[in-house]
């Protein structure tokens, strides 16, 4: 049976401000991609996160959307996003669309 992994982003990156694109890339490759590849679902929970950089959102999410766009909305979900955080996620989606 498929599982859903809920990732608390503030705890994962120990900050309410997500800025480090290198760590974002490493996180995506080593933690998120294996979940997706196994057929499971992932929920990115942004509770407590209030700001981000484009370097972070692009490194983490644009590549993810490029590879798995069809899964967004069913097996890839974003929870508790402030309007600003939602903007960064959507912006990464737009960036992925531009690349594809």
């Amino acid at each position: 049976m498929n599982q859903t992994s809920v990732i608390l982003m503030k705890e994962k990156f120990a900050s309410p401000f997500l800025a480090d694109g290198d760590r974002a890339m490493l996180f995506r490759k080593s933690e998120v991609e294996p979940i997706i590849k196994s057929g499971d679902s992932v929920v990115f929970d942004f509770t407590g996160v209030d700001n981000m950089t484009d370097s972070f959102s692009n490194a983490c999410f644009a590549e993810l959307f490029s590879a798995h766009k069809a899964l967004v909305g069913n097996r890839i979900v974003f929870k508790s996003c402030s309007p600003l955080v939602k903007h960064f996620v959507l912006s990464a989606m737009a960036m992925a669309d531009r690349k594809n």
Binding site: D20, G21, N51, D54, V77, L84, V89, S91, M95
Partner: protein, 330 residues
């Protein structure tokens, strides 16, 4: 051969080019000893302080040059520099009985940036300090804008320089401006494109050309590195163009100096509007970035709205609300 470099009394961000050209006297052929005379100093803006520190660090640590600093710590300028930890970073211990950190001041002391710097932590610390006398939504929007700018320029320094950087930020009540400066002693913009094997690097291309590339959206020196991660992961090349556009929207200025090239743009306020890089007339070996913005201009419009407008202007988004995917957000 020894050379004495006597700096001017004042260096504002827009005069950073003049400072770099003066410091370049220490890079002349055969110079092994430099006497840097800063005794006239009355006031150096954050970018100027960082440029001096990065240059002295390079002379000493990378080129093995002997550098002697002639300074006064008991003048107004010297006292200010001492409070910013400028002398400490120059390796000078100043004995003072003065209270060094007034909790009402909106500044952080100069910080050294290395590969281990946590830009999120540092960005939040600095931003919180600079807005501590503000309140409500304006404080939040201002802090988020500053965090964004700091996060991008610190990451840029860490990711591309392969050197040591110095960062300083302050709010100047007299003219209502936030000023940030960062300068490193690294490989510079052209060096980053060359050493990352970027397809955008052109053998023999000028620093002016390569700086123009760096300020172009999706044209970072590591944008082509699709599958790497870790210390030199790829990026999408939006950081610097975003920083430049955000400073324009917040009635500020943006300056970047690397190699024999620079851009200083205050978006026409003093007739200094330079969309394209120009020759600097000297060679700044690393990268220096200075950002200023007007406090009153932030908070009139939310940071989110500024971000959306800038991204549409840069062609990073088509519609104000971006793409829509049903079920993506809970």
């Amino acid at each position: 051969m020894s050379v004495t470099i006597e700096l001017n009394a004042k260096y504002e961000a827009k005069k950073a080019g003049a400072l770099i050209r003066k410091l370049a006297e220490g890079d002349a052929k055969g110079v092994s000893e430099i006497i840097l005379d800063i005794r006239k100093m009355t006031f150096y803006e954050p970018l100027a302080l960082c440029i001096i520190l990065a240059t002295v660090h390079r002379w000493r640590e990378k080129e093995g040059k002997k550098v002697e600093i002639k300074y006064y710590s008991n003048t107004n300028g010297g006292s200010y520099a001492e409070r910013m930890d400028f002398f400490k970073h120059l390796g000078i211990e100043v004995k003072t009985e003065r209270q060094r950190h007034d909790s009402n001041d909106n500044f952080i002391t100069i910080r050294q940036i290395t590969r281990n710097t946590d830009e999120a932590l540092l960005g939040r610390e600095i931003s919180s300090c600079l807005v501590k006398d503000m309140s409500g939504q304006q404080a939040t929007d201002t802090m988020h804008l500053m965090e964004y700018l700091l996060g991008e320029i610190i990451k840029n320094c860490m990711q591309h320089s392969r050197g040591i950087g110095f960062l300083h930020a302050q709010y100047f009540r007299s003219d209502g401006m936030f000023l940030m400066g960062i300068a490193d002693d690294g490989i510079g913009v052209s060096g980053s494109y060359r050493l990352n094997d970027s397809p955008r690097y052109k053998v023999g291309a000028s620093d002016v050309y390569m700086l123009g590339e760096a300020l172009t959206v999706e044209s970072s020196s590591t944008t082509h590195r699709r599958e790497m991660f870790g210390l030199s992961s790829p990026n999408y090349g939006v950081g610097l163009p975003m920083c430049r556009a955000l400073t324009e929207d917040s009635m500020g200025h943006f300056g970047i100096y690397s190699g024999d090239a620079y851009v200083f743009d205050d978006f026409g306020k003093t007739g200094t509007s330079a969309m394209a890089p120009k020759k600097l007339g000297a060679n700044f070996r690393g990268v220096a970035v200075g950002i200023g913005f007007t406090r009153s201009a932030v908070g009139q419009v939310s940071f989110l709205e500024i971000l959306k407008d800038v991204k549409i202007r840069l062609g990073l988004q088509n519609a104000k609300n971006g793409p829509s995917i049903p079920g993506a957000f809970q």
